[in-house]
Symmetry: C2
Subunit: 402 residues, 2 copies
């Protein structure tokens, strides 16, 4: 008998019918003899609808009040799944974040889990119950309801698996696992049977939406065995773990709506640490800077551009730049799993292919095991499909080429 944490996302519990399907799946695992903790997101677009309601009242509602509001979404899901499970003849108990003992810091809207007081969960498990827990939410030490930010239910699930010492943390989602590229964009994308924490983290940070980066960090630091799989099929998913041999290139991630900011001026390169800490303090950590002797450029999510541009103008003197250039409309394409010795070869391949396709590369950045470059958004599909093929990801047998 294993203890398994199963997490179902918003699409998986999007309707009453889907909640019934989740109940059936949970029941199967139960009948296979496992102890189960089930973590749920809010139903489908519930969170967005609640946010919309708030916006009608206030343009900038207090984050504390937002947490009070949106945390109702998961509370509805867990109550309904509990009913569906009782209907299936399974004894289940729904617990909100605070009832489950999920203690966070007080950063409303982006809280981090500090600890999980698992006594209540363990007591119910010992009584043979399936414990259903509201993801995405917790309580701070003053008793205020907090939320972990978007994607936070993944983090709840992994943190619960870590605290409970679960053998497995299954993340059920609307895709069948982690792919070598976004299958909606690249029809030849291959599902990975396994991926290392580091490569998963890279993919997650670089735009692959399947897991939230914070959840991957939590999994890595506690060695939680995560499986990403579909809630709509019985297909085997992708194992995320420590001892995964590097398979050469792991995949291609991409992030849309990227802007590139460039500061120009003599000696600007030396101001990188100042700029980096300015951005950090503003809550916008940037790790990838590209610089020449008289320029310094970095990518940003487009929706952060306005805030950053204002920040840079305010600190013009301190940063000592002559000119500020902002340009939007890019997609950042990242190749993940590039080993040190093959990096030059992969980069050459990318440059050559983009040239053949007449796709200008605006910005390139190389770091440990990954290569990122920015191209115009409308060229992304062609570029990614071509690279996916040429880097040997369409069929794994060609992988040895790199």
């Amino acid at each position: 008998m294993a203890l398994i944490v199963q997490k179902f996302g918003g699409t998986s519990v999007g309707t009453v019918d889907r909640i019934r399907e989740v109940a059936k799946r949970v029941k199967e695992s139960r009948e296979a003899g496992h102890q189960l903790v089930v973590v749920l997101s809010a139903m489908g677009k519930t969170t967005d609808a609640l946010v919309q309601l708030a916006k009608e009242i206030s343009e900038h509602p207090d984050e504390r009040d937002m947490d009070m509001l949106v945390s109702t979404g998961e509370q509805v899901s867990i109550a309904l799944l509990a009913m569906a499970l009782q209907q299936e003849g399974c004894e289940a108990i729904p617990l909100t974040g605070w009832q489950a003992g999920i203690v966070t810091d007080s950063v409303h809207g982006e809280a981090r889990i500090k600890q999980i007081e698992t006594q209540r969960i363990r007591r119910h498990l010992a009584q043979g119950k399936i414990v259903i827990i509201a993801g995405f939410q917790g309580m701070d030490e003053q008793g205020a309801i907090t939320t972990l930010g978007r994607g936070g239910s993944d983090t709840s699930a992994v943190a619960l698996a870590a605290s409970l010492g679960a053998q497995l943390c299954e993340i059920y989602t609307d895709v069948a696992g982690v792919f070598t590229a976004d299958p909606r964009l690249v029809p030849t994308a291959q599902k990975l049977s396994a991926i290392s924490y580091q490569d998963m983290l890279d993919l997650a940070e670089l735009g692959a939406g399947v897991l939230h980066p914070r959840s991957v960090e939590t999994a890595r630091s506690h060695g939680v065995h995560v499986v990403v799989r579909s809630s709509f099929s019985n297909e085997e998913g992708t194992n995320v773990g420590r001892d995964v041999p590097a398979p050469g290139i792991t995949g291609i991630a991409h992030g849309e709506h990227v802007a590139i900011v460039t500061l120009k001026g003599e000696g600007i390169r030396s101001r990188t640490p100042v700029l980096s800490s300015l951005l950090q303090d503003a809550g916008i950590p940037v790790s990838a800077f590209v610089h020449g002797s008289s320029f310094l450029s970095f990518p940003l999510a487009k929706n952060q551009l306005q805030k950053v541009a204002a920040l840079l103008r305010e600190n013009r003197e301190q940063l000592g730049y002559r000119e500020l250039e902002e340009e939007g409309g890019f997609t950042m394409v990242s190749v993940v799993g590039v080993s040190r010795h093959s990096a030059a070869k992969v980069l050459k391949e990318i440059m050559g292919r983009m040239k053949l396709l007449h796709i200008p590369i605006r910005w390139v950045h190389q770091s440990e095991r990954r290569l990122s470059f920015a191209i115009r958004g409308n060229k992304a599909e062609t570029a990614i499909r071509t690279l996916h093929r040429e880097l040997g990801l369409d069929g794994r047998e060609e992988l040895a080429a790199f």
Copy 2:
């Protein structure tokens, strides 16, 4: 500076615009220098919608899970009002039932408040904040979310006023106060400026929906000064309190969809205590029995008829009746505030008037300060309007007649 509890019902917070109106009203009281605790119901039909969602999953969902589900309704209201108040420049803190320290027993769906641990509320009040509390809900001693049943927000408000020693508990609703009859039915109904706890309790129990009986009981036992008033106007409301001189007849209440159950058989009268305790044990307390030498009859809400009929059949031997008669479709009309010495005169007036109107009276019951009688539902409007006029309630000056 007074401490005031203000409660706003579902209609008063039914839309974002109405929530804004409530915020303005609360702000006015704040600017008048009062400390404020604001208790809210769920927005409009939210609770019904959540119940509907549950019914799609399970015909008889667990009450514990229902409480988890429907308690989200008030949580949404309090979050939105907090935002609206911040928008108005008022500092406010929303608290769920459990955060507000409302401790109940564990009877899910119909919980009773055992105590209120007011430290957290008092701390926020001392910091100058308006404290917004989710009505209708609490937490039991095991940390499970409970609800108080329909109308429970009134009870939350009155219990909070009692625990906090508030000077006033204002119940804002969609009518301007307590009337001598339902103004939707009787256009000449008069608003009462004051009413005693006992008469209010009678009206509430006998069908006047303006206050929940349990909240009136709580107000009476703690001497809470309650005012019922409109959330849509500045009209003065109705004061509910201890030292209200009995004004003669207070008003006419009516309850629709009433069934009359009659047991026939020799000596059946002597079985009243047995019957009474059977019904009590089944959670259907009946206080008004009418009996003759060979019959025993009592009224019921129509939706309880099936359950009670089954119970009576099961216990036929013990009850020793020969025949069981059930008849639905009645409206119970009750005249409240009938003094002992005028009871006979009022009853005679009722009987006479109904006879003139050709409205058969099916069942009559007289008790301390009230007279109730059942008539066919389709005759109720005519009967109540006529009695309202003839008993002098259309204009208070004629009141002295009784």
